[in-house]
Symmetry: C2
Subunit: 118 residues, 2 copies
DNA sequence: GGGTAGTACTACGTCCCGTAGAGAGGTGGG
DNA sequence: CCCACCTCTCTACGGGACGTAGTACTACCC
């Protein structure tokens, strides 16, 4: 899939947190800590949509951007990708299971239960 | 942690598959498909140990390299790192659980069971 | 003592990403 | 009607990571 850079991730975070598509200007306004040129934001949005992380639709002359997938889907995919790197998926999964904290193990257990029931 | 490049990963794969530390020359001999200069292999081994993926010990004038951690540990860590990217760990975990195939769900379940017993 | 092996250091091209300017083409206010 | 402005697209530059390798030096074996 290819990872994201730091600014790219910040921008995805903003868009993931929103429930409506945003224009470049709006995204720029939401990045408070950094003082970025408007074109910088536009460039990154463009790259992100080129990479398939965002979809965009016209709104007058402007584009409105929104995530192509949810953050959870993105994270889950990253995790699966990591898992694909191993030769021994079982060992890696076992190790992963041991590494998650108690509460999270509980979540996993519950999700797996529901799976089983279906 | 930072990811690995393609050649770096190939070399890690070779070392992970081995149970004894190897010299640069030995690693080079085990990369059959590519015809790399010996110095290339040495450079990459050096970078990998600088990054903490390998440890090395002297053997005469040569260095012997071995992985600092198992491949499973590496993969598990990558997965945890991906998980850290989300704001909602539960949602991501649930999604992940749904995404793994049946056999793997079984593995996870078993690992979690054992955890519970401890 | 010359080939071989091994090291350390340096280097170059490429690609990704953060960052942004230049230029083009609408758009609304005075 | 023209100017200021918004937004777009295109192009670019600098830094860092990585693949790749050359060079220069040392040590060892025969």
């Amino acid at each position: 899939m290819k990872g994201l850079g730091e600014l790219e991730r910040s921008i995805m975070d903003i868009l993931w947190a929103q429930d409506t598509p945003l224009t470049a200007r709006e995204v720029g306004r939401l990045i408070e800590d950094r003082d970025l040129a408007p074109t910088t934001v536009m460039t990154v949005l463009d790259r992100l949509s080129r990479k398939g992380f965002l979809t965009r639709t016209r709104d007058g002359r402007a584009w409105r951007y929104q995530p192509a997938a949810s953050r959870d889907a993105y994270v889950a995919e990253l995790m699966l990708e990591a898992l694909d790197l191993t030769g021994d998926r079982d060992a890696a999964l076992t190790r992963f299971a041991r590494a998650v904290s108690g509460t999270e193990a509980e979540i996993l257990r519950k999700a797996l239960m529901e799976l089983e029931e279906e």
